[in-house]
C-alpha cells in the first residue's frame, strides 16, 4: 500500500442547466446570476457554466501546479459544530475549525482574499456571509448524510444478527465484550463492524475553503482519511448551491467519517462509489449518476438490470458539437430524466436497506471477495444479483429465457474465470493490493475496458517494462500510457 489512501478526489463532471430563482444573499465568491435548479436540463447546463466561469479562480492550470502555502495568517474560525470524524478526535470530540485559506486580515484590518488568478479586499460583511453560509451548509450536509447512513449502519448490525441467527439485543451485548486474545479489542472491532453512527462522525475536524493546486483540472473536494480534514473548493460550494443539496460536501463527509472509511479498511473497497451513496440517487441530482466517472459501475448495473440503455439515450439527446459548444435535445433529455428518476427512486432505499448494510455487516469478507475477483465493487454486483432479475436483453422474460438456454455455458465460463481470478498473471509478481484505491479507480476510468485489456496484455508480454516505468519521469510516463488510449473520451461520460 504505497502511501495508502491519503486523500480522495472529487472530480467535477457533466453539464447542468438552471432555472433562475431568487435566493438569499450569496457569498461574494459566487459569480453573478447563480441559481438553484433541480431541472434535469438546466442543472447540467448551469453547472458547466459556473465551472467555466470560475475555473481560473479556483482551479489550477495544468501548466502551473506550483503549491501555495496556507499560512498561519489564513483565517481560522472555531465553530460550535461538534466533530468526531478523525482518529485523533474520534473519542475526544472537538469543535470543527473552519479554515479560510488565503483569507488574511491585513495590518490595516482589511480582509484580503487570494484566488488563483487575482487578489483583492472584501468587507467584514462579506466575510461573515461566507462563514455563516459554510456553517449552515455543514449542518445541512451533516444532517442529510446522517439521515441516510445512520439507519443503514443500524441495519448492518441487524443483518449480521440475522445471519448469525442471534437476537439483535444479544449480539449488541456481545459486541461490547473484549476479545479473549486482547482485552483492548472488542468483538465489534474484530468483526469489522462500524460503531453506532453519530452526527459528529460526519463533521470534519477542519474544513478548509481552499485550493489543491497540485491536482489540476476539476477538483471540487479532497479528504484525507483518518485525518478529519476536508478541502472544499469554492467551486464546489457554488455547485452545491445550484443542486439544492450540498452533495459534494456530503460526499466528502462520508470519506472523512472514520467509522465508514477508515484508512486501512478503505484499501479493500471502492471508497469513491461508497461516498457517492446516497447523493448519486438524490432526485435533485441530475449530474452524478448520469455523467460522473465514479458512478460508471452503477450505470452499467442499471443498464443490465433495469434495461435502460443510457448510452443510447445520451447519444440520442446529443444533437451537435460546435467544436466544444454542445447542442442537446432538451425534450429527450427531460424524457430520459424521468427514467433516471424512476431508477433512483428504486435504488435509494435499496442501497440504504440492502447494499450498505450487507457490506458493513461483513467488511472483512467483502474485502477478501474484492481481492478474489479483483473488483472493488463486487458488493454491488452480488447484492443486485440477489435482489433483481436482469432485463437487458429486451425485458425480463426475454432475458431470463436467454439465460436459461445458455446457463450451462455461463456456469462453465464462470467457474473457469473464478478459478483463475486473483491469481498472478504469468511472469509477473503476485497481485499486491497495497495500492491506492483512488488511482486504481482513476486508471479504470481513464482507460476503457478494451484499453485496459491491451495494457494487461502488454505487461504480460513485457514484464521487464514494469521495472522501467520506475525510472520514467511523469511526462514520459503519461506519454507511455497514452499510447494505449485509443478510444476517444465521450461527452456523455463527463469530464475525465
Amino acid at each position: 500500500m504505497k502511501s495508502s489512501l491519503l486523500f480522495i478526489l472529487m472530480m467535477t463532471g457533466g453539464y447542468s442547466f438552471a432555472i433562475e430563482k431568487k435566493t438569499k444573499e450569496l457569498p461574494f465568491y459566487f459569480p453573478e446570476g447563480v441559481v438553484v435548479s433541480t431541472d434535469p436540463v438546466q442543472q447540467v447546463i448551469e453547472n458547466s457554466r459556473y465551472f467555466k466561469a470560475t475555473k481560473s479562480q479556483f482551479q489550477s492550470d495544468r501548466n502551473d501546479t506550483s503549491p501555495l502555502i496556507t499560512g498561519s495568517d489564513s483565517l481560522i474560525i472555531e465553530t460550535e459544530i461538534e466533530s468526531t470524524s478523525g482518529a485523533s478526535n474520534r473519542d475526544k470530540p472537538t469543535k470543527m475549525k473552519l479554515v479560510l485559506d488565503h483569507y488574511v486580515r491585513m495590518p490595516n484590518n482589511r480582509i484580503r482574499v487570494t484566488y488563483l488568478n487575482k487578489q483583492f479586499y472584501i468587507t467584514e460583511e462579506q466575510l461573515q456571509a461566507v462563514i455563516a453560509d459554510l456553517k449552515e451548509t455543514v449542518i445541512t450536509a451533516r444532517d442529510n448524510i446522517s439521515s441516510f447512513w445512520s439507519p443503514a449502519i443500524d441495519l448492518a448490525i441487524k443483518h449480521w444478527a440475522a445471519k448469525l441467527a442471534i437476537p439483535e439485543k444479544e449480539l449488541l451485548k456481545l459486541l461490547n465484550l473484549p476479545a479473549p486474545e486482547k482485552s483492548d479489542i472488542t468483538i465489534r472491532e474484530l468483526n469489522g463492524l462500524p460503531r453506532q453512527s453519530r452526527l459528529s462522525d460526519f463533521v470534519p475536524r477542519e474544513l478548509h475553503l481552499g485550493y489543491n493546486t497540485e491536482l489540476p483540472g476539476g477538483i471540487l473536494g479532497v479528504t484525507w482519511l483518518n485525518a478529519g480534514v476536508i478541502y472544499y473548493n469554492p467551486g464546489a460550494r457554488i455547485r452545491d448551491y445550484l443542486t439544492q443539496k450540498p452533495m459534494v460536501l456530503e460526499h466528502e463527509m462520508v470519506h472523512v467519517n472514520i467509522n465508514l472509511q477508515e484508512l486501512l479498511l478503505a484499501q479493500g473497497f471502492d471508497p469513491e462509489i461508497m461516498a457517492s451513496i446516497p447523493e448519486m440517487f438524490y432526485p435533485e441530482n441530475q449530474i452524478e449518476l448520469l455523467h460522473h466517472p465514479y458512478t460508471a459501475v452503477i450505470r452499467e448495473l442499471i443498464h443490465n438490470y433495469f434495461g435502460f440503455d443510457y448510452i443510447r439515450a445520451q447519444k440520442e439527446s446529443f444533437l451537435w458539437d460546435y467544436e466544444g459548444s454542445l447542442e442537446i435535445d432538451e425534450e429527450k433529455f427531460r424524457e430520459n430524466s424521468k427514467r433516471w428518476q424512476e431508477i433512483k427512486a428504486e435504488l435509494l432505499p435499496f442501497f440504504q436497506k440492502k447494499v450498505v448494510p450487507e457490506f458493513y455487516s461483513n467488511t472483512t469478507w467483502w474485502s477478501a471477495m474484492n481481492q478474489k475477483l479483483q473488483d472493488k465493487n463486487s458488493v454491488f454486483h452480488i447484492v443486485m444479483a440477489a435482489n433483481y432479475n436482469l432485463t437487458r436483453l429486451g425485458g425480463e422474460k426475454e432475458t431470463q429465457r436467454w439465460l436459461e438456454t445458455n446457463e450451462n455455458e455461463i456456469r462453465e465460463i464462470a467457474e473457469r474465470a473464478y478459478e483463475l481470478s486473483g491469481t498472478p498473471l504469468e511472469n509477473t509478481q503476485p497481485a499486491n493490493n497495497r495500492l491506492s484505491a483512488l488511482l486504481l479507480n482513476e486508471y479504470q476510468r481513464l482507460f476503457t475496458e478494451k484499453e485496459q485489456e491491451k495494457i494487461n496484455i502488454y505487461f504480460n508480454r513485457h514484464p521487464e517494462m514494469i521495472e522501467k516505468l520506475v525510472e520514467m519521469e511523469i511526462p514520459e510516463l503519461i506519454k507511455f500510457f497514452l499510447r494505449f488510449k485509443t478510444d476517444p473520451v465521450k461527452p456523455e461520460e463527463g469530464v475525465r
Binding site: 491519503l6 479489542i185 474484530l190 483518518n226 479483483q374 436482469l390 439465460l403 481470478s421 498473471l425 504480460n460
Partner: protein, 512 residues
C-alpha cells in the same frame, strides 16, 4: 501530493492492477469468443455472480454463500492488510511517516494492526481446524465438495464472534474423548525435559538499538512435561498387542507452574491412519494461547524419547517472541558550524576517561608473549628536511602483528602494536630494511655506509625498539580502534575509530 509519490502510485496502480487475473475480464473474454453480443456478454456476467455466489432460499430469495471463500483466502487478505499497515508505521517511507505523524494516527493504526493480527490468528486457527478434521477423518465420508467447503474449509461467519476459542476450535478426536470419558485412556509413558542455559545466545540490546556492538546474553529455559496415553480396555487392557500410544500431550512449565492447556498434542487414534501433531506456540497469557499454530501429519507413532529428538520441536515450543519495536530514526539537531582551515582546532581523538587510559579489551597475547609477526612502517620523506632525495629509508614504526598462534593468522581483534625504533635505528639512513620471509620476527638492515645489522625482535627488551608500543590498533565488534600515547603520557591517553580496511595492511610493510 508530490509528483514523486504520484509517479510511484501511478506505476504501482497500473502495473500491479495488470498483474492478476481479473474475474470480469476473464469472463468477458471467454463470452466474447462465444460470439455473444455485448449485451449478452454483460448479462451473462451479471448472472454468473448469482450462479457462483448465491443460493436460492425456500421463499425464492437469494442469500450469499460466504463459504465460497475459504478461511485461507480471507486470511491472505488480512496478511496483505498487515503489510500495508506496517508500511505506514515502519518509518521507512518519509511521506507515510509524515502523514502518520502530522495527523496523530500512530496509535489508532497500531490498534488496527492488533485487530488484524487477532483476525489473522483466528482465521489461521480456522484453517488448521479444517486440516485437522481432514487428517483425522473428522470429515464425514459422504460430504460432497460443496459440503466440505460449506462446513469445513469455507469461511465461517461466526469466526469472529466466539469468546471461547478452544471451544470454537475443539481440536479433539471423538474416539480419544470417548476413551477419556470411559476412563480407558491410560498413561503408559511419562517424561520431563528440563534445560537451563544461562548464556545461550547473544542478541542486540534493544535499549541501545543504534549500536550493533551492544550485545547481551540471553538465557534459554526449556521445561516440558509429556505424557503418553493409550486406549486400553477389554482383554488387551493389561497386555496390549503394541506399546505405542494413542494420544500424547506436553505441557510447558513456566516458573514452577504448568500451563493450563497442552502446548503439544499428538493423536494416533488407530494404526490404520497416520497421526497428527499440533503445536501451540503461544504461551499462557499471550494472544492465541489454547489454539494450535502448527499442524503436521505424523507417519510414525513416536514415543517420548523419539519425539524429543525431533529437531526443532523444542525450539518451536520455547522460542521467545521478539517484540517488534519500531524505532523512529534518530535525527540529530540541526546546526551551523563554520570551520575555517586556518583556525581549525577540531580534535579527532577521544580523550581517555580516566588516568588508566584506554586499554585493549581483548586478551591477545599468549603466555610467552611471542605470538606475533613483525612488519615495518616507513616514514615518507619530507621534502623540506630530507637531504637524501628519498634514496634512504627511515623506519617510523615496527609493527607487532599479533596472531592466533599460527603464522599470519590474526589474533582475536586483529591486534597490531606500533613500536618506535630506538635512536640508533630511527634515522633516515637505511638502504634496506626487511623482514625475513622464513622468520617473521627477524629484521635485517643495511645502512647508507654499507654497515649491516639485524636480529630477532624478541618479546623482552631488545636493541631495536622501545619497550612499550606507542600505538595499538584492534577490532571490537564492527569497529576498529586506534589507541595512542602522547609524548608525555605513560598510558594510552587517546583513541579514535579507524577504517577496518586498515586490517588489510596486516602482514605488509607500508609507508606513512
Amino acid at each position: 501530493m508530490k509528483s514523486k509519490n504520484l509517479k510511484w502510485l501511478l506505476f504501482l496502480t497500473i502495473a500491479l492492477s495488470g498483474c492478476a487475473h481479473n474475474y470480469k475480464n476473464s469472463f468477458l473474454e471467454e463470452a466474447r469468443k462465444k460470439g455473444w453480443s455485448e449485451g449478452q456478454q454483460k448479462t451473462a456476467l451479471e448472472h454468473s455472480y448469482r450462479l457462483l455466489l448465491l443460493e436460492k432460499t425456500g421463499d425464492g430469495d437469494y442469500k450469499i454463500k460466504y463459504s465460497v471463500l475459504t478461511a485461507k483466502q480471507v486470511r491472505e487478505k488480512i496478511d496483505e492488510a498487515l503489510l500495508g499497515v506496517d508500511q505506514l508505521l515502519s518509518y521507512k517511507n518519509e511521506s507515510d511517516t509524515k502523514f502518520v505523524s502530522r495527523f496523530g494516527l500512530r496509535k489508532s493504526l497500531e490498534h488496527s494492526e492488533q485487530i488484524f493480527k487477532v483476525q489473522r490468528d483466528r482465521l489461521r486457527a480456522h484453517e488448521l481446524y479444517g486440516q485437522f478434521l481432514s487428517l483425522t477423518s473428522g470429515v464425514p465420508a459422504e460430504y460432497s465438495e460443496n459440503q466440505i467447503r460449506e462446513k469445513i474449509t469455507g469461511y465461517n461467519q461466526r469466526i469472529f464472534i466466539s469468546t471461547d476459542l478452544p471451544k470454537a476450535f475443539p481440536f479433539q478426536i471423538e474416539s480419544i474423548e470417548w476413551a477419556k470419558r470411559r476412563g480407558v485412556l491410560k498413561e503408559i509413558e511419562r517424561g520431563q525435559l528440563s534445560l537451563y542455559r544461562k548464556f545461550d545466545r547473544q542478541e542486540q540490546n534493544l535499549a541501545n538499538a543504534d549500536d550493533p556492538n551492544d550485545l547481551i546474553w540471553k538465557s534459554k529455559l526449556v521445561d516440558l512435561e509429556i505424557t503418553n496415553y493409550k486406549i486400553m480396555e477389554g482383554p488387551d487392557a493389561e497386555n496390549p498387542k503394541t506399546n505405542s500410544g494413542n494420544y500424547l500431550e506436553g505441557y510447558r512449565i513456566v516458573g514452577d507452574k504448568k500451563e493450563i492447556l497442552p502446548a503439544l498434542r499428538l493423536f494416533y487414534p488407530n494404526d490404520d491412519n497416520p497421526g497428527v501433531m499440533l503445536l501451540d506456540l503461544d504461551k499462557e497469557g499471550e494472544a492465541g494461547f489454547g489454539v494450535p499454530d502448527l499442524i503436521e501429519p505424523m507417519q510414525d507413532n513416536l514415543n517420548i524419547e523419539e519425539l524429543l529428538q525431533e529437531n526443532n520441536l523444542l525450539e518451536l515450543l520455547f522460542k521467545e517472541k521478539k517484540e517488534q519495536k519500531r524505532v523512529p530514526p534518530k535525527t540529530k539537531a540541526l546546526f551551523v558550524e563554520i570551520a575555517r582551515t586556518k583556525e581549525s582546532s577540531a580534535e579527532l581523538w577521544e580523550t581517555a576517561p580516566d588516568e588508566n587510559g584506554w586499554q585493549v579489551p581483548i586478551k591477545y597475547q599468549n603466555e610467552l608473549k611471542n605470538n606475533y609477526n613483525v612488519s615495518l612502517v616507513f616514514a615518507k620523506p619530507e621534502r623540506s628536511t630530507d637531504t637524501t632525495n628519498g634514496i634512504y629509508k627511515q623506519i617510523k614504526y615496527l609493527k607487532k602483528e599479533w596472531t592466533a598462534g599460527q603464522y599470519r593468522l590474526p589474533s582475536i581483534g586483529r591486534v597490531v602494536e606500533y613500536y618506535q625504533m630506538k635512536p640508533l635505528y630511527n634515522k633516515r639512513n637505511l638502504v634496506q630494511a626487511e623482514i625475513d620471509q622464513l622468520n617473521a620476527k627477524r629484521i635485517s638492515l643495511v645502512f647508507e655506509d654499507g654497515g649491516e645489522d639485524g636480529g630477532v625482535i624478541v618479546p623482552r627488551s631488545n636493541k631495536f625498539i622501545e619497550n612499550l608500543p606507542i600505538m595499538i590498533d584492534y577490532t571490537e565488534g564492527n569497529k576498529r580502534w586506534r589507541i595512542k600515547k602522547d609524548d608525555h603520557s605513560k598510558v594510552f591517553n587517546k583513541r579514535k575509530e579507524i577504517s577496518r580496511s586498515l586490517e588489510e595492511k596486516i602482514g605488509k610493510s607500508e609507508e606513512e
